[in-house]
Amino acid sequence: MVQAVIGKQADAGGKGQAVLSVRDLTVGFGENIVLDNLNLEVLRGEILGFVGASGTGKSVLMRTVLRLLTKRSGTIEILGADYDKMGEAERVALDMRLGVLFQHGALFSALTVRENIQVPMREYLDLPQDLMDELARLKIELVGLAPEAAEKYPSELSGGMIKRAALARALALDPDLVFLDEPTSGLDPIGAAEFDELIAKLRDTLGLTVYMVTHDLDSLFSVCDRIAVLGKKRVLVEGTIEDMLACDDPWVKSYFRGKRARSIVREA
């Protein structure tokens, strides 16, 4: 394993250290409280799968952690630092260490794939164009896209290619922590399995920590080290897949031991 190689603070700690810790987080809109005193930890080098029924606030939690939404109370520590207590320059430095794959890719439609990948490089680093081109092609290669895709616009790509291109952009600056919002939704089972393998491979080679919101039972069973279930405005249960199967909560039970899940368990 090459975990923590990428850690920008050299030897910032090995596996097992919390990269993201959310404590007593409360988020709401008007009268409606969406998350109430939620606690969650993501450990270095792991792939955390995050599940929950539609409308329970999975996206709200991710968007709050990424500060696209404001929280009511609670603390969020990313990579050992509390965002609220940071200065402007530190926030920028922290943003460089996060990568996000949005559900629909969110590639800039006016730019080609190569230019999309180079946006964060251009913004944060001072690299010559030919080196940037090479690095963009390397990222395209790493996520398993054909080299021809580099000069294509997002509207010319298929759904699976958009996900891969968006992942390449999320990885542009070699982030420590990557957020994936339903990375396999809309992909065919083969494409989804390939994507899962890709994420696991990148985690192993690049030492990523992955926070993955997903509904894909296959992903949960095959690549996730740990799973957290959101329900009743907090994390209902977190642990390995075995813990999920042993859990007594009715929703968790029907999710992991329903008809669709059982067929996967049988195969496994």
Partner: protein, 379 residues
């Protein structure tokens, strides 16, 4: 924690002949994005290592990311033979995980010759004018046909949609059209009175404003305003529906998108533009009367009496006849551009711009054609 603070120097030192028969490279420091440029240049200066076995010593490296790993990987490709790694295994693993060589896209197109680059756009423009005309005809035709095709429980046209569009494109545009025309009338009257004063013919400012406004300016400026206001809205609405496959959804349901989306807007525009023109004419004449009274001392009764003499039915009709044609052109051009929108947000913006530009251009063109026509038939 700012980039500057975390940056520590990276370095590579060549140790000739230390590892048996080959070279030994000692890497140290942070091999990351921040140091990639300098290190890439340095490795290039080192040149291709000679054949034989070389050893890469990573024990001095403190951190590495894909950029640093790639530079070393690229350098390694230059070494002819075997490479041994010393020091930390994890860095070697990262480097070996990268592809050995970047595949370049197949069939890269060569730059077209100058001649072609110069004249291809001219040809494309010519073809696009023709296809635009055909598309406009298609939309005009299927707007009429599409309305008849709706053989469901409802009658051919849905009055609710038309009324809604009339409200949005007409009623809501009234204040701005009124204000604009009032000012235009006042400005023409002031300028006319100022120039005519030196001939002692100030009273003819009524003729000037009356004929100019009713025949030309009233309908032209209203049409331009509507092209900017409603034409752009039509293109944006239809375009964003096209982008999100809503237009395809309509087709699949057996509805003609042009009948459902374009037809009510065309009808509403054709009803609304003449009415707005009438309002604009009244507002402009009111503005002119006010200025004539305040600036030249022409009283309102005198103004009205003179107006009645100067303006006959043909002046009013000449202007009004043009209005529905301009409305149709604005609507059709907006719809053509809306349906051309592709997948990206950028293309939507481009289409809206070209919709406004084209419809204003065509409106002025039509105005000119009408002027020639009227002159020829002595209207």
């Amino acid at each position: 924690m700012t980039p500057a603070q975390t940056e520590t120097a990276a370095d590579v030192v060549v140790d000739e002949g230390a590892a048996g028969n080959g070279r030994r490279y000692v890497f140290s420091g942070d091999w990351r994005h921040e140091t990639a440029e300098a290190m890439s240049a340095k490795l290039k200066r080192l040149g291709k290592p000679a054949g034989g076995q070389s050893e890469f010593d990573f024990s001095g490296i403190t951190a590495m990311d894909t950029a640093g790993a790639w530079i070393i990987r690229r350098f390694m490709n230059g070494t002819a033979d075997e490479v041994r790694f010393a020091g930390s295994d994890r860095y070697a693993e990262l480097i070996l995980a990268l592809p050995k060589q970047l595949r370049s896209p197949e069939g890269e197109t060569a730059r077209a010759p100058l001649f072609q680059r110069l004249f291809a756009p001219v040809g494309e423009l010519t073809v696009s004018i023709w296809t635009d005309t055909v598309a406009a005809m298609y939309i005009l035709g299927s707007a009429v046909r599409g309305a008849q095709m709706k053989l469901g429980r409802h009658a051919g046209v849905s009055p609710a949609a038309i009324v809604h569009q009339i409200d949005r494109m007409g009623v809501m545009a009234t204040p701005i059209i009124t204000l604009m025309s009032f000012l235009i009338g006042a400005i023409i009257a002031q300028q006319g009175a100022f120039q005519l004063r030196s001939f002692g013919a100030e009273i003819f400012v009524v003729d000037l404003v009356g004929i100019l406004q009713l025949r030309e300016i009233g309908v032209l400026l209203t049409a331009i305003m509507i092209a900017g206001r409603s034409g752009s809205a039509i293109t944006a609405e239809i375009g964003s529906m096209k982008m999100r496959e809503e237009v395809d959804a309509l087709k699949v349901m057996g509805l003609s998108p042009i009948g459902v989306l374009v037809f009510p807007r065309l009808v509403a525009l054709t009803i609304v533009l003449p009415l707005l023109t009438i309002i604009a004419n009244f507002a402009a004449l009111a503005g002119a009367a006010m200025v004539a009274w305040a600036y030249s001392g022409i009283t309102i009764p005198t103004f009205l009496a003179r107006l009645q003499e100067a303006v006959d039915f043909s002046s009013v009709a000449a202007g009004m006849i043009k209005a529905p044609f301009m409305a149709l052109i604005i609507g059709v051009v907006a719809a053509v551009e809306g349906l051309k929108v592709g997948g990206s947000a950028e293309s939507l913006g481009r289409r809206v711009t070209s919709s406004v530009v084209k419809s204003i251009f065509v409106v002025i063109l039509i105005d000119g054609l009408f002027a020639i026509f009227y002159a020829a038939i002595d209207f």
